[in-house]
Subunit: 267 residues, 2 copies
Amino acid sequence: MDLTVQQPIGVFDSGVGGLTVLQELHRLMPGENLIYLGDTARVPYGTKSAETVSGYATEAAAFLLRQQVKMVVVACNTASSVALELLSRRLDVPVIGVIEPGARAALRLSCSGTVGIIGTEGTINSDAYPQAIRRFDPHIKTVCAACPLFVPLAEEGWAEHEVARLAAREYLAPLLDSGMDVLVLGCTHYPLLKPTLKMVLPSAVRMVDSAQETARCVRATLKRAGLLNPGVHSWWRFYVTDVPQRFVRVGEAFLGARLDDVQRVAL
Amino acid sequence: MDLTVQQPIGVFDSGVGGLTVLQELHRLMPGENLIYLGDTARVPYGTKSAETVSGYATEAAAFLLRQQVKMVVVACNTASSVALELLSRRLDVPVIGVIEPGARAALRLSCSGTVGIIGTEGTINSDAYPQAIRRFDPHIKTVCAACPLFVPLAEEGWAEHEVARLAAREYLAPLLDSGMDVLVLGCTHYPLLKPTLKMVLPSAVRMVDSAQETARCVRATLKRAGLLNPGVHSWWRFYVTDVPQRFVRVGEAFLGARLDDVQRVAL
């Protein structure tokens, strides 16, 4: 299949979280046309099994390919954790997940050699981040914590509420004595909790937001393939699997912009 | 279709929450065989649209009918709110939801004439409880609050954690000055939060747990139809749409018993 510069990039997530990745893609590559798919009829992925999430991710990627995308960005940590290899093997276009860019950034920033990782149950159980980090440097120590309440807290608009602070203190307690100097925010919802996490973390700990790192990786990959769109005008299109109302209402905080042109589709 | 006493009762929910209803059914009718379906691959229903939840409920009910059940119990407040009429019209067996039994109990218990209702976004947005209450008594005043974090808090095992207490205080604040003397727990997860809610509510407010009320309604309906199983030995069978591990781990707290014989199925 011959890919062209003008084709859009396809991005998918279980719901609104991946909009933080979309925002970074647009900031870094304003000429790229973007198609976003949120699987809102089956959200969340973070509490579901690897098998089920792989099936959903395969359907989402197939939908994006039917929209003639030149690349698939898996903007969901859980789906990236369990389905990236499968998708890379099966699809004819480049596939980029959020795990490896996040792991790379953590390695670049850590001086102590200990990296903390927080994410959904699915992401943490998959061990994807520690494995990615060890592939680059087997001597790095990793400490992990699943934080299942962070996603509903962010979606409730309570990311900076006292409830979030209390939950963060509880989840991060086992990590604080580890000597970590970097914390990977291994879920696309977590950037909204940055101010809260900052209050709980020692000031020496830096946070890695995989959205930014992933956007850089996307640009580098497109450039290498001669597929980077140098234009300045571009369009976005949004698809969801449930009716759009809630996606629009909750999603605007994640995108940092108005959500227009959202259509419902069946996968 | 001729129904017989020996046929099982079919119960479905989006996940583990309906196990609180199953437990009450068994307590009240130890002779009834029970089939439970948890749609764990698509859980939760509470944040999804009426349209999508109706579709899922229709598939769940169809699965139960294929298992030759003599009755379908919709053990999920969200699905009962948006899909009960549809299911009652379409199915050849009696269909019982959790809304009407809860509404009846609230009316029986309230002296002040003001009833509070808490539930998921889907249940509260549907207005199903206020409508059911007004059908019995148009003079009753209702006050409602959606509490989206209660489900993840209960599933995290944090139902009695300080985080839950703080969230409960926030959610219930607008209801406390209403004069309500009854609070309907309009979600099958909420009975786990009873001790926490008790600390936040004035002592005069009584809580209605629709699981118990629904079990009474099921017994009355079976009796009227001559379908009540008078036996003392019975079996349970569990089906889920995702792999069973998480359902078993989280579900035992909801059922108050061991979960054996859980099989994965496609709807």
